[in-house]
Symmetry: C2
Subunit: 406 residues, 2 copies
């Protein structure tokens, strides 16, 4: 433990200021931060507790445990929180403008992740006396987190380097008859010893991912609950996605959609491998996925609308006669081309219908055109990009192209 | 995919019947199941959607995706759910006694895990027209899941076997200078190739665990946000628990609190290792942890109160002059001795103050007496037990005793 990095300390204060702009814009008096990832983003620490960020003034991190550790890690003032009952008194003391004055204050929190039970307890405390009302601030925080700083980009690049090294190391070990699970275990080992934190965080309820989706041949094409273009057979109904015990066979596509998480930041990438070669049908579809990502790159510029990028990819798949196979098959198709990524796998923006927001510099997006062929497999590519003033910069470091193994 | 096992199919109908008893007892008309783990428990499938379980009659699994896969996996009737808007109509058609009749029905759901945003959307649909009211059913489902069937015990035993094999394999590779992370990566590799599903599920908000807590010497004694007796230095503020890049040193305790998850079911266990030998102080504390687990075993019988078991362990630690070190140190002590375990790491009951419920046969508990010495390390033991009519049966398979390496 050596205290918080000075660059990061400055940056956290800037993040708080950006959230405060959102609060002011929407007439909210404060944000109560409860989720561990949001706490890390806005304080520098993931210790247990709640951060209170007023629309104007300094934030406080009320910590249950570990208080000592939070003090070492955070950029904001730390106060011990001995019990939920004591919370109201601390807030009234520290933020009289929100709690002790006349009138109605709006206090935002994360309705998208906060469970009803915890919410109810907190809302009872905050709204006691009728001085404040709770509102949904999920969008405020997701919007602030949408654009990344150079410090954050550095972390994602570090994750990209680890993913590239692990993939190279593992790809050399792929053999006929090796099971998907054996290959997955090897890749996970390679990312873990390089510093992968061991979890991939997601924001959506019930969304779960180990390190990604690995699947070969027909097993990869089996649909799942996971909101992504490939599902996978998995290890049974309690782990019904990604790698299974199916042996890898010559001539079938091996989809390697594997990310990792370094210092909290996630990279997502996909490469397709094959022992021997693909059938013409699958080889052509793979080539189309690269063609779509090339076209998408041309559109990944500030001002471009997310839904227009998605529509262009759909049209391109359609023109190639592959619309039924694009991003899943038939009824199990998913309705997006890519997604924001950072501390969580499923950040904003989303390259999908209904997301009309324009791209801005600093956004980071994983773009993943894929084609699913039931009974045969899934092929595709995925890169993570940073949107810059001059166009996209690929953060993914693995070489492109089909990985052909002897 | 080969459809659901007949034994499991019968069992799921029994689980539903047990939940229905809870509903009837509390005057609720139905349970809306939303969380993926609860869905798996009550339908056999973890596909995306909602299960509706009336207090009397048959359950339905309304599936968004994959419908085909849910049909293969589940023991209950499957209906496609094309949109949330369509949900109300389906429910009125299938459960007129809950939605279409006069009067007030209570519909329970999981307030402990369901985020406010998703809850609000669902509650709007269900309570439209004023025919029903939502209530918190978390306790109903947690109570049903608290006692395990022979089928479930079999899964936990399979996980115990994998954890034991992985620990034996990895312990033989521990060397001076090896980092905690390298050892953790090796153990995780060994459990993964044996079928660990790659995640350890938890129910509590913000609770996160990779495969457990591995820490050596002073690094293990660093407190964390995690609600357990050992924290760990971790890989930085974004992964502030468990294994770090600290090298393992001769003579310091290596805490190996590592579980795994097979077919959705978790085993939790802890062993303490050392290269060379422990100091007298730590060796004595380790011996006390075994003494406490022996005493606890004598109390793990049907009818025993959870809080009494915890109080007895506290008294025993106190008698040994170790109360300040028990279950964490000083302000960072946690207030329990053990916890229920099954599909999630943090199930009921808890061996803690305030849990006065008596033990009943079929409960599975991880019991983990540990002692923390700041600057020196953490020592302890943890076994998972099944409560039977004749006393506890250890499900953990790793041999007990300090693991002494040359």
């Amino acid at each position: 433990m050596q205290g918080i990095d000075k660059v990061l300390q400055e940056e956290i204060l800037q993040r708080i200021a950006r959230l405060q702009e959102q609060l002011q814009k929407h007439g909210a008096a404060a944000f109560l931060v409860t989720q561990h990832v949001d706490l890390y983003y806005l304080t520098g620490s993931m210790q247990a507790g709640f951060a209170f960020i007023p629309a104007h003034g300094d934030a406080t991190f009320y910590v249950r445990r570990s208080i000592w550790r939070a003090g070492e890690e955070t950029a904001v003032r730390v106060e011990p929180l001995t019990s939920l009952r004591a919370f109201r008194g601390l807030l009234e003391r520290d933020y009289p403008e929100v709690f002790a004055e006349a009138g109605q204050s709006l206090v935002a929190t994360e309705y998208d992740v906060l469970p009803v039970q915890t919410y109810s307890k907190l809302a009872d405390i905050l709204t006691a006396g009728g001085r404040c009302t709770m509102i949904d601030g999920s969008a405020f925080i997701r919007r602030v987190r949408m654009t990344k700083s150079p410090w954050e980009i550095g972390r994602i690049e570090a994750a990209a380097q680890v993913a590239a090294e692990a993939l190279e190391e593992a790809a050399g070990r792929i053999r006929e008859g090796m099971t998907e699970l054996e290959l997955m275990a090897r890749i996970e080992y390679e990312i873990r010893i390089r510093g992968h934190i061991g979890v991939m965080r997601t924001r959506s309820y019930n969304m779960e991912v180990t390190t990604g989706m690995l699947g070969s041949g027909e097993a990869a094409a089996i649909p799942s609950a996971f909101d992504g273009p490939a599902g996978g057979l998995g290890l049974g109904p309690a782990a019904a996605q990604s790698a299974s015990r199916k042996p890898i066979v010559r001539g079938e596509p091996i989809l390697l959609d594997i990310g990792c998480c370094i210092d909290g930041y996630i990279i997502d990438q996909t490469r397709t491998a094959v022992i021997g070669g693909l059938s013409d049908e699958l080889a052509e579809a793979y080539a189309q996925s690269e063609a779509i990502i090339r076209k998408t790159e041309q559109m990944l510029r500030p001002g471009a609308a997310c839904d227009a990028i998605y529509a262009a990819a759909l049209a391109q798949a359609d023109q190639a006669g592959l619309s039924r196979h694009f991003m899943g098959y038939g009824a199990d198709q998913v309705k997006f081309l890519g997604h924001g990524i950072g501390l969580e796998l499923d950040e904003w923006p989303v390259l999908a219908k209904g997301f009309s927001d324009p791209l801005v510099p600093g956004m980071v997006l994983a773009v993943e055109p894929k084609f699913t062929f039931p009974g045969k497999g899934v092929v595709g590519i995925e890169n993570t990009y940073l949107v810059t003033d001059t166009g996209p910069r690929a953060l993914t470091r693995s070489p492109e192209g089909l990985i052909v193994l002897p």
